[in-house]
C-alpha cells in the first residue's frame, strides 16, 4: 500500500516536472472569482474550491470570496466542499471570456458526511452553539419529510407539545414543566401575538421555517418578552439567493398541505422580493372511541366512531420586498401578510358529546410589516427596527338549535328556544388589534465586548359583540364583549456579551424591565352592576439574567446560566371580565429563578452527547380561584420548584446509519403550600404535566437504489411519554419505583393521561442529486395506538402520508 502511494507520488512528480515547461508556456490570463454563501446569504469562510482533475484550488476568505487564476479559453469544473453541506460541482466557462464571477450557494446536508472536517457553521449550527441554552429544531433538515412541526419539536429533549385533536387543534407547549402563558412564541424575534393563531405550532408547515430555537432558560437579549418558562423562536426560511421551493402533502383523513416559498433578487442584489405561503386542509376524520349513550336507558357504551365535524382549513401568505445593501439601509423590507382559518369544533373538553355545527374562524386581510436595518460606524453599531399593525377578526359560532349524535345525525331541538351545542350559545365576533414594535441596537465595544439593547412595545385592543353572550346586570345590560379592553406592554432588555480566553469563555449578562398597563371595566361588588368608569392597573418590575459558556476545546463545552424571570399579569387576570371573573388589582407578576447547567461533547459528526440540567423556583403563579358561589378571581397562589435533566445523544454508527435519542425527566413540585386544608400537597408533583418522555430515531442513507445516482433515506422515530396524573396526588402516594416510573400509586387515582408509544416510519427518495425533487412516504403511529395528549381527548391513530418536495435554486450557476 505504502509502496503504491510512494510510487504514485513519484510518477506524479515526474510527470509534473516533465510537463512544467509546457504549463508555463500556457497563458494564465483567466480569472474565476466568486462568493460562496449559505442559503441565507451568510458568507462561508474556508470552503474548498478545487478545479476538477487538477490540484489547483483555494479556500474562500472570511467574506466567502475566492479568486482562481487559470488559462482562459477553456471550461473548468469547480468542486466546492464545505463541512455539513452538500458537495457542489459548478462549470466556469472561459471559452469566450477571460473572467467570470460566480455566486455559489451551498446547502446543508444531513446525509453526505465528509471525512474531511472543515470548521464552519450555518445559522442553525450557530444557534446550537450560542451562549444561552437553545434546543434547535432543524426544520430545514426535515423539509422533505411529512413530519409536522409538533412532531419535530416533540422529538427534541425537554420539549413536549400537547395537541387536543388533529391538524389545527389547540396546542400547549411545555418546557421544563412550565406551559401556557409562561411560554412565549416569536416569529423571527417578534412576539407572534400580531398573527393570532395563524403562525401556530400545530399548523405551520416545516417548509416555512429555517429552524426553531427553543429557549428553556435565559432568553437572548434580542428576544423581548415576559417569558417565565422559556420561549420559542420560529425562524422563517431564509433566502437571499433566488430560489423557488414548493411542497405538497397528501395524507389520510383527506389531508392536503401545500407550501410555496419564492425568493428573487435583482442582478445587482439591491432589490429583493418574495412570497411565503401555505395551505392546510384536513377533514381530521380519524376514529375515536366515544361513549355513546343509549337513547332509552341513557347508559353509555364505548364504540369506535369517525369524527365527522372536525375539518380544518387555512391559508396564509406573506409577500415581501425591499432593498438590500443600499447606502441608506442594509435592509429595508416591507411585508404584507394575510391569512384565513376555519376550524369545525367537533367536541368540547372530555370529548363527552359531539358537536356538528359549531365552528371558529379567524382572518386578517392585511397585516403590514416593516423592517429597517442599518449598520453604522464601520459595522460596530447596528440598528434594527421592526413594526407591525394587525387587526384580526375572530368569530366563534355556536348557534345550532338541536343536536348531533356521534354518527353525525342531526336531531331536532327538544327546547326550541335553546341554542348552542356547548350549552353556551355564541356568535362572538371580536376584533383584536395589535401594534407591535421592536427596536434592537447592537454596539460592538471592542473585539471582546458587545452591547445589545432590545425594546418591544405591544398595544392590544379588543372590540366586539356577542348577541348570545353574557351581559352586565341592570336595566341597561351591556354586552360584555363590547367593553373596552386595552392592554399595553413594554419589555426592555440590555445585554452585554463578552468573550475571554481567546473566545473560549463566553459571557452574557442582562437586565430587563417589564411594564404592563391595563384598562377595562369591572363589577361593583356592592351593587353587582358594572362600574361606569373604566379601571386602570399598572404592573412593572425588573429582571436579570446571566449566562456563561466555556468552550474547553472545539469538542467540549460547559454552559451555566441563571435568570430572574417574570410574567406580567394579563388584562383579564387584573381586571376580570365584568361578569363572574373579578378584578384583582393586587395581582403580582409571576416570578421565577431559573438555572441551567449543561455539558456537551461531540466528535464531529461521529458521535456527540449533551446533558443539561435545570432548576427552577417559581413564585406567585397566577391561577383562577373560586372566590365564592358566584365569582372567581385570578390570584397568586402556587409556588413551584424542582429540577430536571435532559440528555441528547447521536452516533453515526455506520456511514449509512445514524442513531439519535434523548430523554427528559423533570421533577417539578409544589412548595410552601399555605392553604391549611391542602398542606399535604407540599412537594406534590405538578398535576397534568408529563414528567418523563423520551425519543429514539434511526436514519438510513443509501445511494443507487432504484436508479443510478439516486439517494434513499429511510427513517424510524419512536416517541414515548410516561403516563401522568390529571390531579395532584400527595408525594407519599406516588409509585415507589425509580423516579416514580415503575409501580402503581398508593391511591386509586383513575384520572390518568395514559402513556404513549408512537412509532413513525418513512422513506425519502431523491431521484438524482441534480434533480430538485424528492418524494416521501410516511406512516405515523404505525401500530395505531390510542394516543392522548390531554385527558380524554384522543388524537389520531395510524395515518399515511405522501409528500412531494421541489426546490429550484435558479441562480446556482450565475
Amino acid at each position: 500500500m505504502f509502496l503504491n502511494q510512494a510510487c504514485m507520488r513519484f510518477l506524479l512528480l515526474f510527470f509534473m516536472l516533465l510537463l512544467s515547461p509546457l504549463l508555463k508556456a500556457q497563458a494564465v490570463d483567466g480569472i474565476i472569482s466568486g462568493r460562496i454563501a449559505f442559503e441565507n446569504d451568510e458568507p462561508i469562510a474556508g470552503a474548498s474550491i478545487r478545479i476538477a482533475g487538477s490540484k489547483q484550488g483555494t479556500k474562500s476568505d472570511s467574506n466567502g470570496r475566492f479568486v482562481l487564476t487559470v488559462p482562459s479559453g477553456a471550461s473548468y469544473r469547480l468542486q466546492i466542499n464545505y463541512m455539513g453541506t452538500a458537495k457542489r460541482t459548478i462549470n466556469a466557462d472561459l471559452t469566450k471570456q477571460k473572467e467570470t464571477t460566480l455566486q455559489i450557494t451551498l446547502f446543508e446536508s444531513t446525509n453526505e458526511l465528509d471525512e474531511v472536517t472543515i470548521q464552519g457553521q450555518t445559522t442553525t449550527q450557530k444557534a446550537k452553539t450560542q451562549i444561552v441554552k437553545a434546543e434547535v429544531v432543524d426544520t430545514k433538515a426535515h423539509q422533505q419529510e411529512a413530519s409536522t412541526l409538533v412532531e419535530l419539536m416533540n422529538r427534541s429533549a425537554g420539549i413536549r407539545i400537547r395537541q387536543s385533536g388533529g391538524l389545527g387543534s389547540d396546542n400547549n407547549i411545555m418546557l421544563n414543566g412550565f406551559q401556557g402563558k409562561s411560554i412565549k412564541t416569536f416569529k423571527d424575534g417578534v412576539p407572534t401575538d400580531y398573527l393570532g393563531a395563524a403562525f401556530n405550532l400545530s399548523t405551520l408547515p416545516v417548509n416555512m421555517l429555517e429552524h426553531v430555537e427553543v429557549y428553556k432558560g435565559v432568553l437572548p437579549t434580542q428576544l423581548g418578552a415576559d417569558a417565565l418558562g422559556g420561549a420559542v423562536n420560529l425562524v422563517s426560511r431564509l433566502g437571499t439567493q433566488p430560489y423557488l421551493a414548493a411542497s405538497y402533502e397528501l395524507a389520510s383523513f383527506n389531508t392536503h398541505r401545500a407550501t410555496i416559498n419564492w425568493y428573487h433578487r435583482s442582478d445587482n442584489s439591491k432589490l429583493f422580493g418574495g412570497l411565503d405561503a401555505f395551505f392546510n386542509y384536513s377533514d381530521n376524520s380519524y376514529q375515536v372511541t366515544a361513549d355513546i349513550p343509549n337513547e332509552e336507558t341513557a347508559n353509555v357504551i364505548p364504540e369506535k366512531v369517525k369524527l365527522f365535524h372536525n375539518a380544518y382549513r387555512q391559508w396564509y401568505a406573506e409577500a415581501y420586498g425591499g432593498w438590500k445593501d443600499v447606502f441608506w439601509a442594509d435592509e429595508f423590507r416591507l411585508g404584507i401578510t394575510t391569512f384565513y382559518m376555519k376550524r369545525d369544533n367537533q367536541f368540547a373538553a372530555l370529548m363527552e358529546r359531539p358537536f356538528g355545527a359549531a365552528y371558529s374562524r379567524q382572518k386578517a386581510p392585511i397585516i403590514p410589516t416593516l423592517r429597517y436595518k442599518k449598520s453604522l460606524l464601520n459595522g460596530k453599531l447596528i440598528f434594527d427596527q421592526f413594526a407591525v399593525y394587525s387587526s384580526i377578526n375572530n368569530l366563534l359560532v355556536d348557534t345550532l338549535s338541536g343536536s348531533y349524535d356521534w354518527y353525525g345525525q342531526y336531531h331536532a331541538p327538544v327546547d326550541a328556544g335553546k341554542r348552542g351545542e356547548s350549552g353556551n350559545a355564541s356568535l362572538a365576533d371580536i376584533r383584536f388589534s395589535n401594534l407591535t414594535t421592536r427596536t434592537g441596537i447592537n454596539y460592538q465595544l471592542n473585539e471582546q465586548h458587545g452591547l445589545t439593547f432590545n425594546l418591544v412595545f405591544n398595544d392590544y385592543n379588543r372590540k366586539g359583540s356577542d348577541p348570545y353572550g353574557a351581559v352586565s346586570a341592570g336595566e341597561n345590560p351591556v354586552d360584555l364583549q363590547s367593553l373596552p379592553a386595552d392592554y399595553t406592554k413594554v419589555v426592555g432588555a440590555l445585554g452585554l456579551s463578552s468573550t475571554f480566553l481567546e473566545k473560549r469563555l463566553q459571557n452574557l449578562v442582562q437586565v430587563k424591565y417589564y411594564q404592563a398597563n391595563a384598562v377595562g371595566q369591572e363589577v361593583n361588588l356592592s351593587t353587582g352592576r358594572l362600574r361606569e368608569e373604566t379601571s386602570k392597573a399598572k404592573s412593572s418590575t425588573f429582571g436579570a439574567a446571566e449566562a456563561l459558556k466555556w468552550n474547553i476545546n472545539p469538542n467540549t463545552f460547559f454552559r451555566l446560566s441563571g435568570e430572574y424571570a417574570t410574567r406580567l399579569p394579563e388584562q383579564q387576570e387584573i381586571l376580570g371580565n365584568g361578569n363572574f371573573v373579578l378584578a384583582n388589582f393586587g395581582l403580582n407578576p409571576e416570578r421565577s429563578v431559573n438555572g441551567n447547567l449543561g455539558f456537551g461533547y461531540n466528535k464531529g459528526n461521529h458521535y456527540g452527547v449533551e446533558v443539561n440540567s435545570f432548576y427552577r423556583i417559581t413564585k406567585d403563579m397566577i391561577i383562577s380561584v373560586p372566590v365564592n358561589l358566584i365569582y372567581s378571581q385570578s390570584s397568586n397562589v402556587e409556588q413551584v420548584r424542582g429540577i430536571g435533566l435532559e440528555t441528547d445523544a447521536y452516533v453515526q454508527a455506520f456511514k449509512w446509519l445514524r442513531l439519535n435519542g434523548n430523554f427528559t425527566y423533570q421533577d417539578f413540585r409544589l412548595y410552601h403550600v399555605t392553604e391549611p386544608s391542602i398542606l399535604y400537597l407540599e412537594r406534590a408533583r405538578l398535576r397534568n404535566v408529563p414528567y418523563f418522555f423520551a425519543n429514539l430515531g434511526a436514519t438510513f442513507n443509501v445511494n443507487n437504489t432504484i436508479s443510478n445516482g439516486d439517494h434513499l433515506q429511510a427513517y424510524w422515530y419512536f416517541s414515548y411519554v410516561h403516563e401522568y396524573y390529571l390531579n395532584y396526588i400527595p408525594k407519599d402516594t406516588e409509585p415507589d419505583g425509580f423516579l416514580g416510573l415503575w409501580g402503581d400509586a398508593k391511591i386509586d387515582a383513575p384520572n390518568i393521561i395514559p402513556g404513549q408509544n408512537v412509532h413513525t416510519v418513512g422513506v425519502v427518495w431523491n431521484p438524482s442529486p441534480s434533480q430538485p425533487l424528492s418524494i416521501n412516504l410516511e406512516c405515523k403511529n404505525l401500530f395505531d395506538a390510542a394516543v392522548y395528549d390531554n385527558f380524554r381527548i384522543q388524537n389520531a391513530g395510524r395515518s399515511f402520508h405522501l409528500k412531494l418536495n421541489y426546490i429550484l435554486n435558479y441562480s446556482h450557476n450565475k
Partner: protein, 418 residues
Amino acid sequence: MNRKIFKWGVFLWIGGMLLVSCSKDDKNGPDDDQNQATGKYVLLTAESGSGSAGYYAAYDALPNGNVDNIGGYSLQARAYGGFRHYGNWIFNRATLAGETGVVRYNVGASGKLEQTGFIKCGSSAQNLVVDENTGFYFDADRGKTKIQKFNPTSMQRTGEIDLSPLIEKGNGISTNVYTGNQTIAAKEGKLYVNITYSRTGGSGHNDNTRNFTMAVIDIATEKLEKTITHKFVKNQGHSPSEFPAWTQGTDGTLYFVTTGWDYDEQNIMVPQPSGVYRIKAGETDFDQDWFLDGEKLDIKDGQLWSVRELNGKLYVDVSKKPVELPSFGNLADPMYTVYAVDPNSMAATEITGFPLTVFGHSTGNLEVVDNNLFIRVISTANNYNGYYQLNADGKTASAAFNVSRGGQAKGFTRLTGE
C-alpha cells in the same frame, strides 16, 4: 377535657345504638334514615381551587381523632362538593372523570367505593331516589319541562313525565320555564318538582319571576295532580349544588330551605327572606303560616342553609352576620352556628361547644349518621376541618374527627350495609 367529652360521647353513642328503635318509616330523600346502618362510613373531602381533586374514603369504624382521608381505602375523583346517599349507595352528579349525569357508587370487593352506574345527562342533574327501583332526575337535553325516571338498581333511565300541562301560560308569564332543575322531592307517594318561571334568557337558577311553585305528581300513577305556590318564597336550594337544601322529618314533613338570593328580570339581586318552609306530613300544599327565619332565632338577617331533622327536632345552621350581597364577600368567613328548633313551637336552642363554621356550599353543614347529628366545622383559626358530634344533652357538641389530609370535609354518611 376534649378526650373526656369524646369518651362520654362514644359511651352515649353506643348506648344510643343499643336503645335505638328498630321501626322503619316510609321516608325517603337525599339522606335516608340510618338507624339500621351497618355498612361503611363514607367521608368525602375535596381540595379547593381549579384542577383540584376529591377523595371518597370508606371506613369500617366511625372515624375519630385525626383522619387521613387519602390512602388505600380512598378513591380519587375530580373535585365535587358533596354527594347524596340512599341505602347502600352514594350518588353524585358527575363521574370520576367529570362527565355530567347521575352517578352511583358502591363499596366494591376491595372495600373501596367504586363507580357502579352512570346515566348520562346533558348537564349536572338534580336527582332523587325514592326507593330501590324508583328514581327521578332532571335532564335539560331531554326537555326542560320534563322529569326523567330511572331505576336506581339497574341504573337505567326508564322513561319520563311531561310536566308542561301544569305550566301556566298567559300575558306577562314567562315562557322560559324549568321543571326539576332545582328541587325534586317526594313524600307519601307524591313527587314534588319545582316549576321555575325564569327571566328571559335566564338559567332557571334563583331567577324565578313568580313565587316558588311546585308540581305535585302521584308517583304510582304518574298523574299530574296540581301545582302549589308559596305565598312569598321565590326559590329553593341552589340548583348547581349537590346539597338539595331540603330534608324529610321522621313524621314525613318536608322541610325546604330558601337562601333568599333572588335575581330580578334585570339580573340584579333583590334579596328575599332566607329561611325554612314546609309541606306538613299528610298535606300536599305548603304550610303557608310556618316559616323559620333568622329573626325567630334572634339573628336578624341571618342566612339559613343546612337543615336536618333528628328525633323530632329540626336542626338548622344560620349565619350570625348578614351575608354580604350581592358580592357574597363574607361567605367563607366562619360565621355559621347551629340551632335546634322545635318545629311546633319554634322554640330554638343554640348548640354550643364548637367553633363557628363557614357556609355549607354543596355539602351542607349538618349530617345525621347513626342517629346522631354531626356538624361540619371548617375553622382555620381553630385549625379544625372536620365534624363535631351533638352531645346527648342536645345543647352542646364535641369534636368527632378532624381531617388531616384530603382537603376540606365535604360530606359524611354511613351506608346501610344491606
